[in-house]
C-alpha cells in the first residue's frame, strides 16, 4: 500500500469521449482496447464455429453451400488466431507488463497506439468481402483454410487479396507491439527489478515477442510472393510456371508452428501466478520455467515440417523433424511438473480463476499428450488432415490459451474494474465450458481415427452420431460463453462488491500494490522493490 500512498491523487485526468480511445497512448487504455477487441473477435469466431457445427449437425448440405463452408472455416481460423487470441494476450501484456515491472507506461506509447489501431482495419478486411458479395461484388472471402496452401490460394477469388492485406496489417501490428514489449522489459524496469525477479508472465511475453519478430517475416514474405503470383505473373508457388507449391507450405509452417507457441506462452506465464495465488504458496521452479520458455521458443522454430509428414519429404527429413518435435515434450513436461509443484502442499481455494487454471492443466494436458502421438512421422499418415488433428489443436488452443485467457480475465477483472465479478456465474461458466468443450471435441478424436477428413462440409453416414454429439456440445459451448460476457459487463458496470487493492488473499506482485482500479497513471516515480 505504500506505493499507492506515495502517489495518491496523481494522474486522475483521463480524457473523455471517443478521442480518449482513438488518440490514447496510455498502456491501460490500449490494453483494454486490445481486450475488448479480442473478446469481440472471440464472439465473431465463435459465431462462425456455430455455423460450421450447424452445417455438420447432420449429413446433408442444409444451411450453406460448400464454397461458403470453406470460407467460414477459413475466417474462423484466422479470426480466432489473429483476431481473438493474439489481441487478448497482447492486451494483457499491455495492461500488466508496466504494472508488473514498475514502469510508468510502455516504452514507446505512440507506437503502442498504432499497433492496436492497425487491428480493426485488418478484421474489416477479412470480413468485408462477404458484405461486398451481398452487393454482387466478388466471390466472398478467402476459401482456402487459414493455411492458404498454394496453388489453391492462387486460384481463389478476390477475397484472398483482402486476406493478404489483412495479414500485412496484422504482421505490422504484431511486430510493432513485440518491439515495444522487448524495449519496455529491457529498459524501463523499476530499480531493483532484475531479470531474475521478473514475473513469469513478463518472461513469457519477452520470449513471445522475440518469436514473433523471428517468424512473422516468413509469413509476410510468403504472402507478398503469393500476391505477386496472383497478379504480377510471377511463379513462386505455381508449378505451371516452374514454381514450387511445397515452398509455400514450408514458409507458412515456419511461421505457423512457432505461432502456436506465440499463443501458448503468455498464458503459460500467467498460469503459475494464478496457481500460486490460490495455493497460497510461492511459484515452484521459477528458473526452470524461464529456461523452459526459452527452450520451447528455440525448438519451435526448427520443427515446422511435422505439419508436412505427408507431403513426401525424404525419410531423413521426416526422421529429423520427428525426433526434434519429440524434444519439445521435455520443456513442456517441465512446465507441467512446475505447475504441479506449485499447488502441491498448498492451501488451495477454488475461485473461478483457479478453476479455469486447473481446467487448463487437464485439457491442455490432453492436447499435449495427443501431440506426442502426432509427432510420429509414420503413424501420422493416419492422423494428418483428419479430425484427430482438429480435436488435438482445439484441446491445445482452446483447452490451453483460451482457458488461460479466461482465467486471467477473471483473475484481473477486479483489478481492472475495482469490482468483484459474480463468483456463482463464474463457476457455472467454468463447469458448463468444460463439459461442453469435452462433448464438442472428444468425439472428434474418434472421428479422426475412424477416417473422417477435416474441412469437409458433408460426411459419410458412419460419422453421423459423433458429429451430432460434437455439434450439440458446440452449441452449449457457444451459449455458455454468453455467461462470461454477461459477467464481464455487469462487473464493468459496477454491480459487484468493491475489490481491495490486493484483490486475492494470496496475490503477490507490484500490480497488487496499487488500488483497484489502478489510477490512470501509475509508477510515475518508480516503486521500491524489496
Amino acid at each position: 500500500m505504500s506505493v499507492m500512498d506515495a502517489h495518491a491523487g496523481e494522474g486522475e485526468h483521463a480524457p473523455r469521449g471517443i478521442t480518449r480511445w482513438l488518440y490514447t497512448t496510455n498502456h491501460k487504455d490500449i490494453g483494454i482496447l486490445y481486450m475488448v477487441f479480442g473478446i469481440a473477435m472471440f464472439l465473431v469466431g465463435g459465431l462462425l464455429a456455430m455455423l460450421i457445427r450447424a452445417e455438420l449437425l447432420t449429413p446433408t448440405m442444409r444451411i450453406m453451400h460448400p464454397e461458403l463452408f470453406n470460407q467460414v472455416i477459413s475466417v474462423h481460423g484466422l479470426v480466432m488466431v489473429f483476431g481473438a487470441l493474439m489481441p487478448l494476450t497482447a492486451g494483457m501484456a499491455n495492461y500488466l507488463i508496466p504494472l508488473m515491472i514498475g514502469a510508468p507506461d510502455m516504452a514507446l506509447p505512440r507506437m503502442n497506439n498504432w499497433s492496436f489501431w492497425l487491428l480493426p482495419p485488418a478484421a474489416i478486411l477479412l470480413v468485408m468481402p462477404w458484405l461486398l458479395n451481398l452487393f454482387g461484388i466478388g466471390t466472398g472471402t478467402l476459401d482456402t483454410g487459414w493455411t492458404m496452401y498454394a496453388p489453391l490460394s492462387i486460384q481463389s477469388g478476390p477475397g484472398m487479396d483482402f486476406a493478404i492485406f489483412a495479414i500485412f496489417l496484422l504482421g505490422l501490428s504484431s511486430t510493432l507491439f513485440s518491439i515495444n514489449v522487448i524495449v519496455t522489459v529491457l529498459n524501463t524496469r523499476a530499480p531493483g527489478m532484475t531479470m531474475h525477479k521478473l514475473p513469469l508472465f513478463v518472461w513469457s511475453w519477452l520470449w513471445t515477442a522475440l518469436l514473433l519478430i523471428a517468424v512473422f517475416p516468413a509469413l509476410i514474405a510468403a504472402s507478398v510472393m503469393l500476391l505477386a503470383d496472383r497478379h504480377f505473373g510471377t511463379h513462386f508457388f505455381s508449378a505451371a510456371g516452374g514454381g514450387d507449391p511445397v515452398l509455400w507450405v514450408h514458409m507458412f509452417w515456419f511461421f505457423g508452428h512457432p505461432e502456436v507457441y506465440i499463443l501458448l506462452l503468455p498464458t503459460a506465464g500467467i498460469l503459475p501466478q494464478i496457481l500460486a495465488t490460490f495455493a497460497r504458496k510461492p511459484i515452484f521452479g521459477y528458473n526452470m520455467q524461464v529456461y523452459s520458455f526459452g527452450a520451447i521458443s528455440l525448438l519451435s522454430v526448427v520443427v515446422w515440417a511435422h505439419h508436412m509428414y505427408t507431403s513426401g519429404l525424404p525419410a531423413a527429413a521426416n526422421l529429423y523433424f520427428m525426433f526434434a518435435t519429440m524434444a519439445i515434450s521435455v520443456p513442456v513436461s517441465i512446465l507441467f511438473f512446475c505447475w504441479f509443484g506449485t499447488i502441491w502442499r498448498g492451501a488451495m481455494t477454488f475461485e473461478t480463476p483457479m478453476l479455469f487454471s486447473l481446467g487448463y492443466i487437464v485439457l491442455f494436458g490432453i492436447g499435449g499428450l495427443t501431440g506426442l502421438i502426432l509427432s510420429d512421422a509414420a503413424a501420422d499418415q493416419q492422423y494428418h488432415g483428419s479430425y484427430f488433428v482438429v480435436a488435438h489443436f482445439h484441446y491445445t488452443l482452446f483447452g490451453g490459451p483460451i482457458l488461460g485467457v479466461i482465467a486471467a480475465i477473471y483473475y484481473y477483472l477486479p483489478k481492472l474494474t475495482g469490482r468483484m465479478y459474480s463468483e456463482k456465474l463464474g463457476r457455472w461458466h467454468f463447469w458448463l465450458t468444460v463439459a461442453a468443450f469435452n462433448l464438442t471435441f472428444f468425439p472428434q478424436f474418434l472421428l479422426g481415427i475412424d477416417g473422417m477428413p477435416r474441412r469437409i462440409p458433408d460426411y459419410a453416414l458412419k460419422f453421423a452420431h459423433l458429429n451430432m454429439a460434437s455439434s450439440i456440445g458446440a452449441f452449449f459451448l457457444g451459449a455458455s460463453q454468453l455467461l462470461f460476457l454477461y459477467n464481464i459487463i455487469r462487473t464493468a458496470a459496477g454491480w459487484g462488491k468493491p475489490a481491495t487493492g490486493r484483490v486475492w488473499e494470496g496475490a503477490e506482485g507490484l500490480e497488487f500494490t496499487v488500488s483497484s482500479p489502478p489510477p490512470y497513471h501509475t509508477f510515475a516515480s518508480p516503486p521500491v522493490i524489496r
Binding site: 460448400p66 466471390t139 493455411t147 486460384q155 502442499r345 492451501a347 509414420a378 503413424a379 499418415q381
Partner: protein, 409 residues
C-alpha cells in the same frame, strides 16, 4: 524412496505386457481394420502410444486429484513454502519423470516409428505400377502396363447431398469407377496432381500422401485381403474437397486378370459409342447423367450456378464475377449485357474440352470420352429453358480434340 528390485521387475513386466497386448488388442478407439503390412505397423504404434499416453494421463490426473483433495484450505492445510526441490534426493527424483518421458519418446516409441518411416519409403521390388492423378474433384487412374486409364468420381446423386432423398449406405464414399488392385502384390502408386494439392488417403491401407502439382510422389501398398476399401481426399482442394472419395476394390490375382480383360472391352465400347451417331433424346438422357456427376457441383443441379463464382448454364440469367472471368466469357460469346447467353457450339465444345485457364473451369478432354462430352453439351443446350434444339455428335468432339488427349484405343 528407493528403487527396489521387485519394483524394477514389475515396471519391466508392465512395459512388456503393454507391447504384447497392444499387438493384439482391439480398442473401440481404433483405426479401420488394417489390410496392409504398413497399416498394421501403424495400428501397433497407435495402440502403443494410446496406452502410454492414457497411463501418463491417469497417473498425472490421479496426482492432481490427490492434491486437490488434500491440499485445500477447507481441510485446514498449511501452505508449504518451498519453491524448488529442497534436498539433493528430491532434485534427482524430479528428473525421473523427465527422463522417463525421454525414454518413452526416443526408445519405446522412437524405435518402431523409425522403422516404419523407413518401411513406408521403401518402394523397391514392386510388381504393378498405377499412376494416380488427382484433379478438382476427381481421381484418374492409369495402368500403363495394361493400357487402361479412366476417371473415377463421386456417384452419390445430388438429391441425397442437398435434399432429403434417402441416403445410400455408402453415401459420399461411392464412385462410378473404383480403382482395382490385385491382392498380395506390392503395388507402386505414382501420385500426381493436375491443379492444386490433394491428399490420397485410404485408412485401411494406412498410407496418406499429398498429390502436389509439379511433383511425382511414390507410395506403395500390398493389400492382403480382398474387399472394397473407401477413403477420401485429405487436403482442402476447393469446393468439391468433400466430394472426391477414393474407392479401391482389391481382387485376387485371377479376379484382377478378369477385370483387366473387361476394362479393355469397355474401352472398345467407349470407342464404338464415340463413332456411332446418336439420337437427340439419347444424347440428352446420357448428358443429364454426365452433368449431374461432373458439372452440378459448381453449376448446380438447377443450372443456375452460384452468383459471383460459377456462371449459370441457363441462358438469360444475370451473372457477375471478376472482370477477367467476364471478359473470357464475353470473348467466347457466352456473356452479354450482364447476362449469360447461348454462345456458339464450337466455343461450347472448346470450353468443355480445354477449360478456361485462370478460372475454376477445368479441362475435361482427358477425363471424359467423346460420347460423354457430346451428350453433356447437347443436354446443356436443351435443358434449363435453353431450348436451342442444337445436337452435338461424338464425332464433332473427336475432331475438335487436342491431339494429345485422343481417347486411348
Amino acid at each position: 524412496m528407493r528403487w527396489s528390485k521387485p519394483f524394477v521387475y514389475a515396471a519391466g513386466a508392465a512395459v512388456g505386457a503393454l507391447y504384447a497386448s497392444t499387438a493384439q488388442a482391439k480398442y473401440f478407439f481404433n483405426f479401420q481394420p488394417p489390410v496392409t503390412p504398413i497399416a498394421q505397423d501403424f495400428l501397433f504404434i497407435h495402440d502403443l502410444f494410446l496406452a502410454i499416453i492414457t497411463a501418463i494421463f491417469l497417473l498425472a490426473f490421479g496426482v492432481l486429484l490427490y492434491s486437490l483433495y488434500n491440499h485445500r484450505k477447507s481441510r485446514n492445510a498449511k501452505p508449504a513454502t518451498f519453491s524448488a526441490p529442497t534436498t539433493r534426493k528430491l532434485w534427482i527424483l524430479s528428473f525421473i519423470p523427465i527422463l522417463s518421458l525421454m525414454f518413452i519418446d526416443y526408445v519405446v516409441l522412437g524405435i518402431p516409428s523409425f522403422n516404419s518411416v523407413l518401411a513406408v519409403t521403401n518402394t523397391s521390388h514392386h510388381k504393378l505400377t498405377v499412376v494416380v492423378t488427382a484433379s478438382q474433384w476427381k481421381w484418374h487412374y492409369a495402368y500403363p502396363a495394361y493400357g487402361i486409364q479412366y476417371t473415377s468420381s463421386l456417384s452419390t446423386p445430388t438429391d441425397q447431398i442437398y435434399g432429403d432423398a434417402r441416403k445410400d449406405k455408402h453415401f459420399l464414399l461411392e464412385v462410378d469407377h473404383p480403382m482395382v488392385l490385385p491382392t498380395n502384390e506390392k503395388v507402386l502408386i505414382v501420385l500426381k496432381s493436375a491443379d492444386v494439392i490433394h491428399g490420397f488417403w485410404v485408412p485401411a491401407f494406412g498410407v496418406k500422401m499429398d498429390a502436389i502439382p509439379g511433383y511425382i510422389r511414390k507410395l506403395w501398398v500390398n493389400v492382403e485381403k480382398p474387399g472394397v476399401y473407401r477413403g477420401q481426399c485429405s487436403e482442402l482442394c476447393g469446393v468439391g474437397h468433400g466430394f472426391m472419395p477414393i474407392v479401391v476394390r482389391a481382387e485376387s490375382s485371377a479376379g484382377f486378370t478378369k477385370w483387366v480383360a473387361s476394362e479393355r472391352a469397355r474401352e472398345a465400347a467407349t470407342q464404338e459409342a464415340a463413332e456411332k451417331t446418336w439420337s437427340k433424346a439419347a444424347l440428352i438422357d446420357r448428358g443429364k447423367q454426365v452433368f449431374d456427376k461432373n458439372c452440378a457441383a459448381c453449376h448446380q443441379p438447377s443450372g443456375l450456378g452460384i452468383p459471383g463464382a460459377f456462371p449459370p448454364i441457363a441462358w438469360g440469367h444475370p451473372f457477375s464475377a471478376t472482370p477477367a472471368m467476364l471478359a473470357d466469357l464475353k470473348a467466347l460469346g457466352f456473356f452479354r449485357d450482364g447476362k449469360i447467353v447461348g454462345g456458339p457450339v464450337k466455343n461450347h465444345i472448346h470450353i468443355v474440352l480445354d477449360g478456361i485457364p485462370g478460372t475454376p473451369m477445368p479441362a475435361f478432354a482427358s477425363q471424359l470420352g467423346d460420347a460423354d462430352i457430346a451428350s453433356v453439351i447437347t443436354f446443356e443446350r436443351n435443358a434449363f429453358g435453353n431450348n436451342s434444339g442444337d445436337i452435338v455428335q461424338p464425332e464433332q468432339i473427336t475432331t475438335a480434340r487436342p491431339k494429345s488427349t485422343k481417347h486411348p484405343k
